[in-house]
């Protein structure tokens, strides 16, 4: 079977779903955060694929920005997680339930 846009997109969608699954199921904040990176990467893959099949570099530009933004986000996020860990000695989401109802 000839590999087309659909195939790339399917991979991207499956990766996206894998990431989402990680966010939902894992309980370590760091792993959750990694899963979120997976989701972003899935989007990146879709964008690159579209970019190629649309004869248009805009998608790739978008990926460029997403990677940058993701890096910034990761920096802040990790700092936050570190700060929280210092406070609670845990990176486990089930310990993060003082705010509820």
């Amino acid at each position: 079977m000839n590999v087309g846009l659909e195939h790339y997109l399917t991979v991207s969608a499956m990766l996206f779903c894998l990431g989402l699954l990680g966010v939902i199921l894992r309980r370590n904040v760091l792993v959750i955060y990694m899963s979120l990176e997976l989701m972003l990467n899935a989007a990146n893959l879709a964008l690159v694929a579209f970019s190629r099949f649309n004869e248009n570099l805009t998608g790739q530009m978008m990926v460029f920005f997403i990677i940058t933004v993701a890096a910034a986000e990761v920096a802040v996020g990790l700092a936050l997680i570190v700060a929280l860990y210092r406070k609670r000695q845990s990176a486990h989401v089930e310990d993060l339930t003082s705010l509820k109802l």
Partner: protein, 170 residues
């Protein structure tokens, strides 16, 4: 089957496999393992990028993502000295519903993708090399402004990281 197609299947398989191992690794619950598999996923994806002629992005993917971002992750894991995630009670209901939701999303996305209305150019010739992207970025106004905003964003991230992680003054 041509070589690019074989390579696609190879990289796709690796991407998904490593991705799956990031999320759920039957052998290790250690975050370090997840991080390492994430690096591998990213590398495999860089292969897909190459197949899609996005050479610059493939490089960035490995340099920035696998090289910098993931190092940050590993650094934090080491810093926090995270041990293997201790086993807690498995919430079967949560797993089932969560998996259900994700499967639902997967179904919907797949259904959309295979809906058969993708406009595929017959013979696309887009080369995403450094020069092309550089020209794009610095000649077209529409990318200039986001570029500048991202700089502010990076500043904010810097300030934020410093604020959040500097030693408490007392």
């Amino acid at each position: 089957m041509a070589l690019p197609d074989i390579l696609f299947y190879l990289f796709a398989f690796l991407t998904l496999l490593f991705g799956a191992l990031v999320v759920a690794n039957p052998f290790s619950r250690n975050p370090v393992t997840s991080a390492m598999f994430l690096v591998l996923t990213i590398c495999a994806m860089a292969g897909l990028f190459v197949l899609l002629n996005a050479f610059f992005l493939a490089a960035v993917q490995i340099l920035v993502y696998a090289g910098a971002v993931m190092v940050l992750f590993l650094f934090v894991i080491m810093l926090l000295d995270l041990k293997e995630e201790q086993r807690r009670k498995i919430n079967l209901f949560g797993i089932v519903t969560g998996t259900g939701a994700v499967l639902g999303l997967g179904f919907l996305l797949t259904r959309t993708i295979w809906g058969g209305d993708l406009n595929q150019a017959a013979n696309p010739r887009v080369i995403g090399d450094t020069k092309a992207l550089g020209l794009e970025l610095f000649t077209k106004g529409q990318f200039l402004l986001p570029f500048e905003i991202v700089s502010v964003l990076l500043l904010v991230a810097m300030v934020g990281v410093i604020l959040l992680s500097k030693k408490e003054l007392k």
